[in-house]
Amino acid sequence: MATPAISLTNVTKLYKRYGGRQFATLKSALLSGDLVKKLRPEETFQALKNVSFDVAKGQTMGVIGRNGSGKSTALKLIAGITKPTSGVVAVKGRISALIELGAGFHPEISGRENVFINGIMLGMTKREIQQRFDEIVEFAELTEFIDAPVKTYSSGMYMRLGFAVAIHVDPDVLLVDEVLAVGDEGFTHKCLDKFGEFKRRNKTILLVTHSLGLVERFCDEAVWLDHGDKRGQGDPTRVVGAYMTDVERQEEQLLAAGDAKAKVDAGESTASAKPTGPVDAGEIAADMSRATEGRWGSGGVEITQVTLQNDHGETTHIFHTGEPVTVKLNVRASKPVKDFVFGVAIFNAEGVCVYGTNTDIEDHQSDTLDGAAEIALVIDALDLVEGTYKLDVAAHKLDGAPYDYHRLLYTFRMKSRIKDVGIYRPKHSWKFDGGVKFRLKT
């Protein structure tokens, strides 16, 4: 490895809370005469715990992690805005931090004057700014408006100008904190091109982002922070993979807990609702779009358990687009039943029924059900776009009168690396012919 451009060694950062200090404390602080000593915090929060990593010169490092994992703190430490509580942060070369774009802009004065002041603040000399001024303005796409006061700018214009100034500082080390969301698609590409140019010129980039795809495509290495701990470092694909697995595991726990709660709630309501007898099926159907979670029915057939399984037969709540999914119903009939239908429906977050089916419409004529049984709907490939979905499962008579209806009680989440939109993702591919050419997206 070449000499590190950024080096963190056993860095710990405690955030102090100076909250709740009242005037009485100032008075007593003044009276006792040890003001500096009195400024000790009452509470601390550990934002980074003994974190070490190096970024070699010319490398692009992605920093990923959940909100509150210490990413931004790490960036601020590297930028020198805050000091580590213990440990050493060393950076070689000029730093430019794209942390808050246009942080120093004054709304009343023109874009032109702000470019100069912001540039000087970021460490450029007046002459450097003069040389790069046209380039900056052009990059920000603000040629027409550069002499208007900044308060008249839209937030996009504001951000673009801030970004343009910061990127033209020509740093050796560029720190980027989640700023690629500043402009429209075109501007984002321009920023990425600029980053690419930095990479080619052997500059070091540290990128803090939630855009995992960007980390995979763009970074040479990735660091994963979690609650102030370093959980992983290395090849971006591997680290991102590990991070996503962890996120899914946590979501899984959350969804499982949610399901358990829904079942308990619904169970309570059925217990009281049971004696009132069957609910009119037509009414339910009419009310479908407004329906909320719940459970009802006469109870002749009881759905005792609903599980979602992946292709390994494991119970889970997270699936990837295109994966096989099995919806398994454990049912029980206390007395033999002859008239029964089992149905399953999938709803998306907007309450749109994505798909619904039952045993009857798919030509399974009911014969007998006695005691415990297991019904499974096997979906070979669930081609849904990313999102959260809910399930209706039901056991009812042929005429629709429910034995046991579970309304939106089960939640699962679809994950996809492709951010396509809509509901359904048909199996597809792109084919090109003639005078059209594409290149790999960076």
Partner: protein, 265 residues
């Protein structure tokens, strides 16, 4: 601390542009624009002149005539001082966004408020010169050489005090409100709208001497207004030493608290 002071010198370009921006931005969007720098003190002085020349004229022994020139020579430096303190003490809080996001010496913010108020002070001197011509009352030309020295002493003193206050205000927001009241008290405790030559003042002179701004105000008045020698000259070394001491005390405390700013503002 010394290292940080050296860094500050490297940032003088930024200080310069920020002062320019401050001045430009202050009157941007107002009709009279920069003329407010003149209008504000003019209005103030016309009221004071009316009250103290017509309503309750001063004892002729106090030698405060022409009253506009007398008051202006004390009021201008006071306005610079008090405005700097008021704005400067909250400079770190209002610039909090910058301190949290951009790496630059935080002391620049309070210093810029002192300097931009100093520009107003200098512009005010033009009005004072106008009044001098109008009233045919001129200062002793050979004493005028001391004027920049007094200004420098005031500058160093004010910067030191503002650094101290701004650093403390980050942690104790009450200081801002407290300061407004202290300044009112301080204003009347300083011979600005009355003359230190009055007998009633002479009785308390021992107390007055503990007021740092007393020495500044008297120096300005002796240089710009009163004829006769610059009698307060003997206090000048004490004032210089005091202001330098204040500066280092303020800077020391500022430096000690520096690391807490990004988190506490």
């Amino acid at each position: 601390m010394w290292h940080n002071l050296a860094t500050l010198l490297r940032y003088r370009g930024l200080i310069q542009s920020l002062v320019a921006r401050e001045l430009k931005a202050r009157y941007r969007g107002s009709v009279l624009g920069f003329f407010w720098s003149f209008v504000n003190p003019l209005l103030l002085i016309s009221i004071y002149s009316f009250v103290f020349a017509v309503i309750m004229p001063a004892d002729p022994k106090a030698q405060t005539s022409p009253v506009a020139v007398f008051m202006f020579s004390g009021l201008l430096p006071w306005t610079w001082f008090s405005a700097s303190l008021l704005e400067g003490s909250s400079a770190l809080i209002s610039g909090g966004n910058l301190i949290k996001k951009v790496l630059f010496p935080a002391e620049i913010l309070p210093i810029v408020t002192v300097l931009s108020n100093m520009v107003h002070f200098v512009l005010g001197l033009l009005i004072l010169a106008g009044f001098m011509v109008w009233n045919q009352h001129y200062p002793d030309w050979n004493e005028l050489g001391w004027f920049p020295v007094v200004v420098l002493i005031q500058l160093i003193f004010t910067v030191g005090l503002v650094l101290l206050l701004s650093a403390l205000t980050v942690h104790f927001r009450d200081l801002r409100d407290l300061l407004g009241n202290v300044l009112t008290f301080w204003f009347f405790a300083t011979p600005i709208i009355y003359s230190y030559k009055m007998d009633t003042v002479a009785g308390f002179i021992g107390y007055f001497r503990w007021n740092p701004f007393f020495h500044l105000a008297v120096s300005y008045q002796e240089i710009l207004f009163f004829t006769g020698e610059f009698g307060h000259l003997k206090w000048l070394p004490v004032m210089a030493a005091g202001s330098i001491l204040t500066f280092f005390a303020g800077y020391w405390l500022f430096d000690r608290l520096r690391d807490s700013f990004a988190e506490a503002v």
